[in-house]
Amino acid sequence: MRRSRAAWLGTAVGGALLLAMGAGYGAHAAGDTITIGVLATLEGPFAVPGQDSMRGAELAIKNHNGMAGGKKIEMKQYSSDATPDKAVASTRKAVEQDKVDVMVGPLSGDEGIAVKNYSKTQPQMTFINGSSGAQATTLQDPSPNFFRFHSEGAQWMVGLGEHALKKGYKKIFLVAEDYGFPYSQVQGFMASYCAKGGHVVKKAWVPLGTKDYSSVISTIPSDVDALLIVLGGSDAVNFLNQMEQAGIDKPIIGGSITVDQTVLNYKGKKRESLLGTASAGPMADSIDTPEWKKFVADYKAAGFKDAFPSPSLFAYLYYVSTEAALLGIDAVKGDLSNNETAYKAALSKLEFDGPAGHIKLDANRNAIANTYITEVAKAADGSFYNKVVATIPNVDENLGLSPDEFKKMGLGNRDNPSCP
């Protein structure tokens, strides 16, 4: 009996060892193929944006005919559940086990910070951010081999403050979730809004996971001009439903994910009260340029399963990130040797026109790009979309302030900035 057990254990351990060696040494691809690992959230609450991210990355490779720098491009997918731990574990598997050549990802803010920190331990690799928009990724202790080819959460809101003032909203009440991404978004809004005489009279930071906002709604003072709502997905719908139920009809200004595709296209009867809601972001559904129209047409023509009517924010961000990776490979003619040194140098200098405008990098390897101010409008077929009302070109991480002013302000948090 004991012997049988020993035999079993021996077999199991031996099998594991074989697996380890086989998997470890068999994975590296041949020389004429370049593997791009793409990490997005295919599990958990962000599974749907994560799937659209993958579509964006796939589309970028498809538009390059699956080739870059004369080599075949292979895409390998990795999943996270939006926790930084899982994002790093999946990235580590891609880099150390599967030995991908370039890494694109992750999706959400804290994941980005964690992967950026991990990238420092793998200086030979090139990491390109997927869609995560935390300021700290590139502003605090940046990593020399971590690139972000799109603007971040605070940049996405630049110009919305002026737009609010133009519409006559002098006093604003803020409702936002209590963590890093909304801090950044609110800072992007308030940086110019406060400087030009607006007042955010009260900030209601609601704990993550709050669904019943009725007690927050009841604290809205009657003399504010508008509400700034930085909530995402179902939370935004919950808030709007409860606001209607409570009979409050203040105009709304939204964050970059407050009135995005998923919120505008929820299942059920559409709420007219959404019309006219202003928001801002690095892209908009209705940019009137041939590049954007081609991007949307390509997305629709690609025949993705369960795709959105038009590409979401995440599809767009992963698209430009992957496109940058491919353009960089083109620039070095597929030569990723010598610890990808030439490739990283080429990426730092890379400038290109994405679907939503020109993109170039600053010294921290973060994008300087356009921000679009939009308002929700009704299309001819009755569906809602975000109509572009203004374009702010070349927004950088200083958020329209001078570098010194921005440095003095520091990164956004619960109390910073403040102008009650």
Partner: protein, 386 residues
């Protein structure tokens, strides 16, 4: 009173433990397991002699395999598979001890490990945080003992709160405690760093050995896991462990015999908390960071899944469960449809708990009875699975 007498005394008890026994319908009293959990021949001799007798051929093979492993595997397999499985296994071991032998299934073990990790980050050295929380920057040899003491005290508190209830209630209460702990971490920015938590909390470099590197980390985790494993094995044969199993099987009788049931239970939480704290610090060094996401309901339940997957009737189950869990988590996406792999993981788990209440160890025992000799079968009937 000797251990053997204990065992006899408790064998007749119908058993109040919430465990599933055997695979079928309601268990008959005669089938109730022996408290020695299949460590055959232990009650005959002294406790230590029994322990040494346990170290047989299979132990030598396994020990050799885990020692050689880093020399044949890739850094990824050493660190992310081996290292992580050992760290997770250590936390699951704490659950096996308090749950399998104490009869109290505590879901909060990850919270206790997480608290130790947070304490190391707060007292030790961590990177800059956006929310304003800052570390004290003390060296690791001060921070780590403080963290272990605090987490063990917290575990004792959790025990004190939850031993007032029994069996299935314990699960609910420890989930609730774990979730409240999670929210506290998430909402507090000044001390715990809020949603972002602490980044760049690196394993220390001791005597020129950088424990961030895969191989040193692996051996550190292995040493601690082995220490934890043998500590638990020893404890289960010590008077405390035997009494604890008695408390699990028949608290009333133990109380009548003059044992302080509550004290034994709380002490079990303390011991388990100590082990979970060490596992939590290993997880911190493995991830290089800690945030509320590491102590959310998902990771809490993962520890339970690991312990149950491996089998809670023997300490080794925690590590077997951890290895399988880590392998599945890392490679399921390659093997099965990437969009539905959570469904597959859920189904596999469901099938195992449905058909093998004792996890993989139980499954192995079942297979062995089918192909094995009569003597094995009769052994299985008496409940030994180890």
């Amino acid at each position: 009173m000797s251990a053997a007498q204990w065992r006899r005394a408790m064998n007749t008890g119908a058993g109040r433990n919430a465990w599933a026994r055997g695979t079928g319908a309601p268990p008959a009293p005669s089938q109730s397991e022996t408290p020695s959990q299949g460590e055959e021949g232990a009650g005959v001799g002294g406790l230590l002699a029994g322990l040494f007798r346990q170290i047989g051929f299979r132990h030598v093979i396994v020990l050799a395999a885990v020692l050689i492993y880093p020399w044949v595997a890739t850094p990824f397999f050493i660190f992310q598979i081996g290292g992580q499985a050992l760290a997770l296994g250590l936390i699951a071991l704490s659950l096996t001890f308090v749950g399998g032998y104490g009869g109290m299934v505590s879901i909060a073990q990850m919270s206790i490990g997480g608290l130790a990790a947070y304490m190391v980050a707060i007292f030790g050295i961590a990177g800059e945080a956006q929310g304003g929380a800052s570390s004290l920057g003390w060296p690791w040899w001060i921070a780590v003992p403080i963290a272990i003491v605090i987490a063990t005290l917290f575990a004792t508190f959790v025990g004190w709160l939850s031993v007032r209830t029994e069996g299935i209630y314990t699960i609910m209460i420890t989930i609730a405690i774990g979730v409240s702990y999670f929210y506290l971490m998430q909402q507090n920015y000044s001390i715990f760093g809020g949603h972002e938590g602490f980044n760049e909390v690196n394993a220390p470099t001791v005597a020129g050995i950088d424990f961030r590197k895969p191989m040193p980390y692996y051996y550190l985790a292995l040493a601690l896991a082995l220490a934890g494993y043998f500590f638990i094995k020893y404890l289960l044969r010590a008077p405390f462990g035997v009494a604890l199993q008695g408390v699990r099987d028949n608290p009333r009788r133990m109380n009548a015999l003059g044992f302080d049931v509550t004290a034994h239970r709380i002490a079990a939480y303390t011991v388990a908390g100590f082990i979970a704290a060490i596992g939590g610090i290993l997880m911190l060094w493995y991830n290089g960071r800690i945030s509320p996401g590491s102590v959310d309901v998902g990771p809490m339940l993962n520890i339970l899944i690991i312990a149950v997957l491996g089998g809670m009737r023997h300490p080794i189950g925690a590590f077997i469960g951890a290895i399988v869990f880590v392998l599945v988590q890392n490679f399921a996406i390659d093997v099965i449809a990437r969009e539905r792999f959570n469904l597959v993981i859920g189904l596999v788990f469901l099938v195992i708990v449905l058909f093998s209440p004792d996890g993989l160890l139980g499954l192995w025992g079942y297979v062995r009875t089918r192909i094995g000799t009569r003597s094995v079968q009769s052994k299985m009937k008496s409940g030994g699975v180890g």
